[in-house]
């Protein structure tokens, strides 16, 4: 068990190194960020103490890898297995529990520990195998995967469109339209797997054109209900709706090109920063889109010669 925890420490250390950060800088930064976010949370959210317990517990549970649990179960005795699982869960909720103590919420802190303790004796299912139907099955994989992971967000977004009409708030409608493209852009955050690029009988330009066309068609399918509602109820402002639709397409194209511009993982943060800048000032895309296009072509040429 001692060696198991030594290995865990080494893994964390290596994660910092792989990320390009020295651990002695990374640790204090993470602690500072955690305290700052928690403090802001308590300042701005009503019933923060209860929600904080829920968030802490949910995050802890989400970070439990069923494969890791399987590994421990396989290699340790039953007693040691439970010792490790319980200790791991208690350790994970400790930052949240400590912050609750700092805020004088002792009962909530204790509740969090109890939740973490009892969840150690439940089984987490390794893979959810419910097949969520998508309208994109003919042209996999990006939208098929993305839609299955984010379909619940579309229920919320379409709900917002309903509120738009109900409350007569056109801006809210535009927000829901932009949200569709935001969600779709997230499908292009992770780099494509080498094999799934290589397998295409296309050159780099054809490949990008093919990908962009699919992205446009599929995102339009998802944005169409909102576009129709806004066009019917706010016909006099249809030019604004069309403008944001075009911005959405450009935004998508930029994210897609960024995906093929960076060959390594861990660039999500950088892509996010570029995304926020372009959202605040869309004309930047006139520079970023051609730049990322050329960079993507250079990268793809290595596989699609």
């Amino acid at each position: 068990m001692k060696y198991y925890y030594q290995l865990q420490c080494r893994r964390i250390y290596r994660s910092f190194k792989d990320f390009g950060t020295e651990p002695f800088i990374g640790y204090p930064l993470i602690i500072f960020a955690f305290c700052w976010i928690s403090s802001s949370f308590f300042d701005k959210v009503v019933y923060a103490n209860y929600i904080y317990v829920a968030v802490g517990f949910a995050l802890t549970y989400a970070f439990v890898s069923s494969e890791h649990i399987k590994f421990i179960k396989q290699h340790f005795s039953r007693v040691n297995y439970y010792k490790i699982i319980v200790f791991n869960n208690l350790l994970k909720v400790t930052p949240f529990a400590m912050f609750l103590v700092y805020k004088m919420y002792f009962i909530e802190s204790l509740s969090l520990y109890l939740l973490a303790f009892f969840v150690s004796f439940t089984n987490k299912k390794s893979k959810i195998s419910i097949i969520i139907p998508t309208p994109f099955g003919r042209r996999p994989p990006d939208f098929v995967i993305g839609f299955r992971k984010t379909f619940w967000l579309f229920l919320l977004i379409y709900g917002l469109t309903f509120v738009t009409v109900y409350r007569d708030n056109f801006n809210l409608g535009i927000f829901s339209l932009v949200s569709v493209f935001f969600v779709c852009c997230s499908y292009y955050l992770k780099p494509d797997v080498e094999f799934y690029v290589w397998v295409h009988a296309m050159n780099s330009k054809e490949f990008l054109k093919h990908k962009i066309l699919i992205a446009f068609q599929n995102s339009f399918i998802l944005a169409l209900p909102i576009f129709i509602v806004l066009s019917i109820f706010y016909l006099d402002q249809v030019h604004i709706t069309l403008f944001f639709l075009c911005i959405g397409f450009l935004y998508m194209m930029m994210f897609l090109l960024m995906r093929y511009s960076f060959r390594n993982e861990g660039m999500e943060m950088f892509q996010g920063i570029i995304g926020v800048l372009c959202l605040l000032f869309p004309p930047i895309m006139l520079i970023t889109i051609p730049y990322f296009y050329n960079k993507a072509i250079n990268n793809l040429d290595l596989l699609l010669k």
């Binding site: 893979k127 195998s129 994989p141 596989l303 010669k305």
Partner: protein, 225 residues
Amino acid sequence: MIYIKTLYKSYGSNKVLNDINLTFGRGEIHGVVGENGAGKTTLFRAISGMENFKGTVEYTEGKIKDSIGFLPTDPYFLSKITGKEYLQLLCNARNIKTHDFEEKNLFDLPLHKYAETYSTGMKKKLALTGILLQKNDVFVLDEPFNGVDIHSNTIINQVLTKLKELNKIVILSSHIFSTLHETCDYLHYLKNGSIAKSVDKAQFEIIEKEMQPSGIGVKIDKLNL
């Protein structure tokens, strides 16, 4: 025909492939054997165009990348993609119009289920089905029999025979000599990144003997089992 001429590959100072010269003809099945780490996968990736290298891989029929079906040792499947969608993706990539995947489901796989939940053997069979549906002319199969059940092994053998009849070029690797005997016309022994020996069917046993580990008994004794 595929002509591999003076192919070299290295990662930094680590030489992985060294002066490889091979010829693969139509209607021939070639086996590549070697110990783990000998460079088989790197050679396959170089032939497929997934790896940069020094030297040439010449394909007389056109662009090799667009005619090659590559079966990796451990096929990677994207999450939340069903078996059918995987096959659709592979067909779309080569502009093949196929819709009835159930009819072409050679191994009776549960195509409506997520591919990531498949067993090791099922994943291999799905990946193989995918490259067969692509109507490729060249097949590079990295350990196609690995993790696959006996019944499917028989099917794969029959598929290989069919590919040979159809005049396709097949290059495969395997650690099971009995299957190599059954399927291959030629065998190439890759040792430390170089082709140590290339033989035809009549001489397979020479390579088999050469690959027999020597002094392994002493090593096992050292484990104190």
